[in-house]
């Protein structure tokens, strides 16, 4: 491995670890709630907001202008509100269905909106979706600051958030405003996903969210150990994926995603072997 590359990869690696930190935690909630595709859906809703913002001439049509960010955030919050309301009504319709529908409609709406764009729109998608390889230090710092804030919020209310994720019925019975806390969860989650997708791209963010918590579930049924395993896994995979990307000269984001898959297979194999030993011991 070329050591010069390390200098260039320092910011991407730091960004990957920052993303890993908050997503491995949020992933626990997401898996516990059984809303696996909620981040893809929210990311798509955010990108619909951004696309519409770019098409509004008043915002200058620059994909990097702050107006675009705020618009995508506003859309994300509307999405969060929808997801919280559907669950609150305790309808017979599964929440995954609503999430799936939101994903499909938001994706299609992006295509429809782009077809009305005055200029070449093929770049737009690239600009809205980040590439972990091109992350710069200022981006890493602002992202880390934002996630620290949201992480602190979740830490303060960790028992409440855990309760509404794991056993919402019990919480409701005790008089907790589940709908409101659900909205807070999805809104804070939306903040994170909008930012992460802009930094790392959709596929990678999905993996950081789901795979570590599934990895943790393989070995423990308790939240603490699961989180520890998830963080360790996400950290190791981030560095290893970067290394493979350099070693075999492959697109970085996609390589990390494949490394996640590989790591999960290895962990599953270890799980098959491990219990026998621990039982014998």
């Amino acid at each position: 491995m070329d050591t010069v590359l390390l200098e260039f990869l320092a910011a991407p690696i730091a960004a990957a670890l920052v993303v890993a930190g908050i997503h491995a935690y949020l992933g626990l909630h997401v898996v516990e709630r059984g809303v696996i595709f909620v981040d893809l859906s929210l990311a798509q809703i955010a990108s619909l907001g951004a696309t519409i913002a770019v098409l509004v001439p008043a915002l200058g049509g620059d994909p990097h202008s702050p107006g675009v960010y705020w618009m995508s955030l506003a859309f994300t919050l509307v999405g969060a509100l929808i997801f919280a309301m559907v669950k609150g009504q305790e309808a017979k319709i599964p929440q995954e269905a609503i999430i799936g529908i939101s994903y499909a409609v938001a994706s299609a709406a992006v295509i429809v909106a782009m077809s009305k764009a005055p200029g070449e729109s093929e770049h737009l998608r690239d600009m809205l979706v980040g590439n972990i390889l091109s992350v710069q230090w200022p981006e890493v710092w602002t992202t880390a600051a934002l996630y620290a804030l949201i992480g602190a919020f979740h830490f303060v209310f960790r028992h409440r958030f855990l309760e509404i994720s794991v056993s919402p019925e019990k919480a409701a019975a005790r008089g907790v405003a589940v709908r409101w806390w659900d909205f807070l969860f999805y809104a804070s989650f939306g903040f994170v996903v909008t930012r992460s997708v802009a930094v790392a791209g959709v596929l990678l963010v999905f993996c950081y969210l789901i795979v570590p918590s599934v990895g943790g579930m393989l070995f423990s049924s308790r939240i603490g150990p699961r989180l520890a395993i998830g963080w360790a896994m996400a950290g190791v995979v981030s560095v290893l994926g970067m290394y493979f990307s350099v070693l075999f000269d492959l697109p970085t984001g996609a390589t990390i995603v494949c490394t996640f898959g590989l790591a999960l297979v290895v962990m599953a194999l270890v799980k098959v072997v491990l219990p026998k030993r621990t039982l014998q011991a």
Partner: protein, 317 residues
């Protein structure tokens, strides 16, 4: 007699000292070949033509890739970080991936406006530059004009000239080499152009449809008329009304040929072609797009031969 003898000896000695000073002034840069990185293989081919063994050239996007959409690899950052000269197509072609790459490379020389950066589009003929305010009613436009300008050999010559001037500025000691190699390329290109002109002359004014707006410079060069596009916005399926209009228009004007870039799906063009009994022809928009197109001149050799054969069949001329 003595003074003449001294002068006879002194002249080469002085020349040797001057050369040594000049060599020392440019340091190791003039000894090692210049490291040139280009965004596409077309520019890489032209840089090799002009630079010869005085440069090493790396093209980032492969010819079979859509240059609008390139997924950067770690090696790209490394190449750009070590480049003495970065040559880009410009006109927003690489806007989706190059700016971040250049920033990541932290190579001051190749930043836009730096001494080691060349936007190849600066002295070429650019088509489709919108005039006045861009509005939605104008449809699909590039604010800086069509970026596929290298597909006119006249522009290829201008690009080579710009590369020659840039290389001379960066390595003045090799001026003679660059000038001579450019002149040789110019001669070869001119001879090839005569051949291409002759091959396509019978089809002047022939009409065809292209998938995307990649070919205006190519078609204009040989007087071919593009009457429509299959998918004006790549990746965004054209509305049914557009396809119906296109089919009507092709039937009305007796157009049978659809030219497609290798990285777009053939499904829609083929369904249109089967509706009107036409043919779909895949041409290479870049060096390396097909294996026959190994350099800039071969790119045109290939495309002209393919197009001539298809037009012969389509027009019966």
């Amino acid at each position: 007699m003595t003074s003449r003898y001294v002068r006879f000896l002194a002249a080469p000695a002085l020349a040797a000292v001057l050369a040594a000073v000049a060599g020392g002034a440019t340091a190791a840069g003039s000894v090692a070949p210049l490291k040139v990185v280009t965004t596409t293989e077309d520019l890489a081919s032209l840089a090799r033509e002009v630079g010869g063994d005085r440069v090493t050239v790396v093209g980032l996007a492969k010819g079979y890739q859509d240059p609008h959409q390139v997924d950067p690899k770690p090696s790209f950052i490394l190449e750009v970080s070590r480049a003495d000269l970065l040559i880009a197509v410009g006109r927003e072609l690489e806007i989706g991936w190059l700016p971040a790459l250049v920033t990541s490379s932290r190579n001051a020389k190749v930043q836009a406006g730096g001494t080691g950066f060349l936007d190849a589009s600066r002295n070429v003929k650019i088509l489709e530059i919108p005039t006045g305010q861009i509005t939605r009613a104008m449809g699909d436009v590039h604010p800086e004009g069509n970026p596929h300008y290298w597909l006119d050999p006249g522009n290829g010559r201008q690009i080579a000239k710009a590369i020659r001037d840039k290389l001379i500025a960066l390595a003045p000691n090799d001026r003679a080499v660059f000038e001579q190699r450019y002149a040789q390329f110019d001669t070869r290109l001119a001879a090839a152009e005569k051949k291409w002109d002759a091959a396509l002359a019978p089809y002047k004014g022939a009409k065809l449809v292209t998938y995307h707006r990649s070919w205006p410079n190519f078609m204009e060069r040989w007087g071919l008329n593009v009457i429509g596009y299959v998918e004006p916005k790549p990746g965004i399926p054209a509305p049914p009304s557009h396809i119906i209009q296109l089919i009507d228009e092709m039937q009305r004007q007796g157009v049978k040929l659809i030219v497609v870039e290798p990285y777009f799906s053939l499904k829609t063009p083929q369904s249109i072609a089967s509706r009107i009994g036409g043919t779909v022809l895949v041409l290479a928009p870049s060096v390396g797009g097909v294996k026959e197109a190994g350099d800039y001149i071969q790119l045109f050799d290939y495309n002209v031969a393919q197009l001539t054969a298809a037009l012969k069949q389509a027009t019966g001329r």
